[in-house]
Symmetry: C3
Subunit: 157 residues, 3 copies
């Protein structure tokens, strides 16, 4: 693979993931829509479960297939339902992006997510950290998120 | 625009913003001075106000023109007055940097800022998050921050 | 130095530091092992001390030579002893990476580190922030961390 093109692709994917975080937290639904590929999959099975790092036990039990959201419309609806009426702060860190072919790539990002009450909104207070495990696809309009899965290091609700 | 030059410019601007955060938090005033262009503008109108994301209402009222600091000396003085005698922790994340021409660029950065008491200093405890919206100018010595504006997702004082 | 090669090196070092954080927090000891050069040095003298930014005084007293860990095996053992039975969250930010020669480089990273109880583990609750000051060496298998030193902005235990 051409090394310059590889760097250009990495830089574009870095900006793609930045738009994902920013559009979600600023409630920019048009911007967020462009981040995902048509066949996007968002795997939330581990997002609200936490594995005991000493025993390997999940608590509460690891979520099932219903926590895997498939297709662009379902992914967007899930995110919007989760964050629209809440103050959310999602920070990504230390991306590891690997270009696999001309049109496919994968990446891992450390992340911290905070969900708090919006003034007047329903009470919630969540603070977690973990990693995103993504794959990316190059569409005609540029790179997009094809699949994304969250794993946890810690979660306080 | 030459794609390699664009990547070199993005990398240099990434380092520029890193020096802004590091020099501010380590109180390196000489280093911080080099980060800003002579005509620098720092727009703090939204830094201590918070918009209710559900109603759009500002609380306390959105600050006026006095919160816009104009010129290198004024910008440096404002930052120094704000952080010199406090422990500050400013983290930037997920920069989106766009090169607009040979000598101009813009960028958005997610950020988290913490200001706490220095031992023996005045009591303060602030924790916020939001975004920097920057423009950059290439000077003879390299890229510098021309304008910067903070918007908020959350703020606790 | 060839500018494209410099960018490729910076990108590889960015991924190296990302693996350092991720492997430490996910307890991937094989992955962590590959991050360090054979002659690695990890300088922890300032990691549990804090300098009063107003007076310059260290509290507790700045640690001595015993806090400098020398050699790949000692560095790995120190990290493993410190984090293996705890939930740890290490985030790096805003890397400033400088390629010094074909095979040497240095970098500064802002960081935040959190150490909390693992369920069933010993009680601890630490939250700090500061900077990593690294040097890197290119080995036959790629870039590795040669020396790393932590300085602190804040520390709560």
């Amino acid at each position: 693979m051409d090394p310059l093109q590889r760097l250009l692709d990495i830089e574009e994917i870095r900006g793609l993931k930045a738009r994902y975080f920013r559009c979600m937290d600023t409630k920019d639904w048009d911007g967020l829509s462009k981040v995902f590929a048509p066949e996007a999959i968002f795997d939330l099975r581990e997002v609200s479960s936490l594995r005991n790092p000493l025993t390997g036990e999940w608590k509460p039990p690891y979520d099932g297939e219903s926590a895997v959201h498939r297709g662009h419309a379902n992914v967007l609806k899930m995110i919007r339902d989760a964050v629209e009426h809440r103050v959310t702060i999602h920070h990504g860190h230390m991306g590891e992006i690997e270009i696999l072919s001309q049109d496919t790539a994968r990446g891992i990002w450390a992340m911290e997510d905070v969900v708090v009450n919006a003034p007047g909104g329903e009470p919630i207070n969540m603070h977690g950290s973990g990693h995103y495990h993504d794959t990316y696809l190059r569409l005609a309009r540029g790179w997009a998120i094809l699949t994304t899965k969250i794993t946890r290091l810690a979660l306080e609700v």
